[in-house]
């Protein structure tokens, strides 16, 4: 296992200590239970937006805590959803009296742990609403599965609903906007390599030198199928087509296009993928009104990428453009 870490056990604590040391102007970090809150939390009268999930997806979610995005993030162990204690503590820490929105990625563990936290918070008289992201078209959305995974849309949703909350939108409206983003967003990812969970010490799956996994999630899970490696153009097509057909995105639509790296893929390759995606969308007369290119929702050091599209309207575009100031996303401030 080749990683810049001190020990598998200390990975999350050490990283959180690094965030605390690096960004005291933006966030405060608490331990046992572990959570990160924006430096000025709780913001009186503002809806608190919190998220959380397993670690290993950095900068998501801790890197998105700050003005205009998340009020708090709850990092679990690597690839393991956080526990209710964390979400309960974070919910209390950010409650400014206007209620708290839980942004939950659709994984059985995340959903159950957030559910328990919400029950406990409600019992303490805090108004909690939840939105569950489930944008991964690689998973059949049917009674035959736990439902689609929450992936790339989560990042974009946190930015957009964070801007709404920052602007004084109430809890019910924040929930509506969040659900709207999720309903208009779709994603799909692929891997060139597996990744190594520190506590495990070896790759989660083996991928021959000439093969790739299509339809992976963000936890080193094997994907839907394996194929021989193809060109960036073909791979982009394999990811974009199911996304486009699923919503579907139609001629004349305007979208936010997000090309995401899985952690081990350098930016030069992401721009090559973006170039192919731009060609495909142009061919379908779909306008990329906004874009985001980089490694924002990762799977440790996995090499690969994911594509996310969110159909934009004026409301969402305005919220996307609103100022944001977090360790990982910053503009207009």
């Amino acid at each position: 296992m080749k990683k810049l870490i001190n020990s598998p056990e200390s990975v999350v604590k050490d990283e959180l200590a690094g965030i605390a040391a690096a960004h005291p102007d933006l966030v405060r970090v608490y331990f046992d239970p572990d959570y990160i809150v924006r430096a000025d939390a709780p913001v009186k009268g503002k809806v608190g937006v919190i998220s959380g999930g397993g670690s290993g997806h950095e900068p998501m979610h801790g890197g998105f805590v700050g003005k205009g995005m998340l009020d708090a993030a709850c990092p679990g162990a690597v690839f393991t959803s956080p526990v209710p204690d964390q979400m309960l503590a974070a919910t209390k820490a950010v409650d400014g009296g206007a209620g708290v929105l839980h942004v939950v990625k659709n994984y059985t563990g995340d959903v159950m742990n957030f559910e328990m936290a919400a029950e406990l918070a409600a019992a303490e008289g805090i108004e909690v609403a939840s939105v569950v992201t489930n944008d991964d078209v690689a998973v059949k959305d049917s009674t035959w599965t736990a439902g689609r995974r929450g992936v790339g849309v989560t990042v974009l949703l946190e930015k957009i609903v964070g801007a709404a909350a920052e602007g004084g939108t109430n809890l019910e409206e924040c929930k509506r906007i969040a659900e709207k983003v999720n309903s208009l967003g779709r994603s799909m990812g692929m891997a060139l390599t597996s990744c190594v969970v520190p506590a495990v010490g070896k790759p989660t799956f083996d991928l021959p030198e000439d093969e790739m996994e299509i339809g992976i999630g963000i936890h080193g899970e094997p994907g839907r199928r394996r194929e021989k490696i193809k060109s960036a153009a073909e791979i982009t097509e394999m990811l974009a087509t199911p996304i486009l057909e699923d919503l579907p995105y139609k001629s004349g639509d305007s979208v936010l296009a997000f090309v995401n790296g899985m952690g081990g893929t350098p930016l030069i390759e992401l721009y090559i993928v973006y170039n192919e995606l731009a060609k495909i969308l142009k061919g379908k007369n779909i306008t990329i009104a906004r874009n985001l290119i980089g490694s924002y929702i990762t799977s440790l050091e996995m090499a690969g990428c994911s594509i996310t599209l969110v159909k934009l309207d004026d409301e969402l575009t305005k919220l996307w453009d609103a100022p944001v100031h977090t360790p990982a996303l910053r503009w207009g401030a």
Partner: protein, 212 residues
């Protein structure tokens, strides 16, 4: 047969040891159809439970089990945390204020635990989860109880049923949890949670057998 709080504590300690022993095997199973953390999650949780046990050693069985369950909820994470945590909490609620148990009470507590898991996980049998291992085990105990069968004999048959249920998850198509994302590719692999459930059942049997 007198099943005391001390036996319950020995049972929990035994589970912690057994899980640690099989940590890597549970990780390997979860690597195939999940995210390679089940063994780590369970080991982390039960190790913390071990630290907590002394603080409730003199308490009633209900308190001991509830404390274990709440500790699991607070430390395991993932899907198995709320599930096993709920199981121990429900069992503890069923045994509130008891310092000694009859076999019937044990069966009732195990039934409550299963109900807790199925409610929290919204899972039925046949979905390739821990429910497929635990369910058949409970069936055997209830039916044995109805026939007035000897408890230890029943427990042995029950654990055999749990093992069979665990093995039966291999050909199943997962429709709950992470494994369900794999669709057809989930077939042919044994479910990690069903496997940890089997180890827990094994320790329960050994604890019962060690009594008298």
């Amino acid at each position: 047969m007198r099943i005391t709080a001390e036996h319950v504590i020995r049972f929990i300690e035994g589970v912690a040891a057994r899980i640690k022993l099989h940590r890597d095997e549970l990780v390997a199973l979860d690597s195939a159809i999940g995210d390679a953390d089940h063994g780590i999650n369970m080991d982390r949780g039960f190790s913390t439970v071990l630290e907590k046990l002394p603080t409730v050693a003199d308490k009633d069985i209900g308190t001991i089990l509830k404390t274990a369950g709440m500790t699991l909820v607070s430390t395991v994470g993932g899907a198995s945390g709320p599930l096993y945590g709920t199981a121990f909490i429900r069992a503890g609620m069923a045994l509130a204020d008891r310092y000694e148990l009859t076999p019937a009470e044990v069966v009732a507590a195990l039934e409550a635990a299963l109900e807790g898991i199925m409610a929290r996980g919204k899972a039925q049998r046949g979905e390739k989860t821990m429910v497929d291992a635990i369910g058949p085990g409970i069936d055997v105990l209830k039916e044995a109880q109805a026939n007035g069968e000897d408890f230890i004999v029943a427990m042995r048959r029950s654990v055999a049923a749990v093992e069979a249920g665990m093995k039966a998850t291999i050909p199943m198509l997962a429709t709950k949890g992470r494994a369900s994302y794999l669709g057809e590719r989930s077939i042919g692999h044994q479910d990690p949670g069903a496997t940890s459930a089997f180890y827990i059942a094994q320790v329960l049997l050994e604890t019962i057998e060690s009594i008298q």
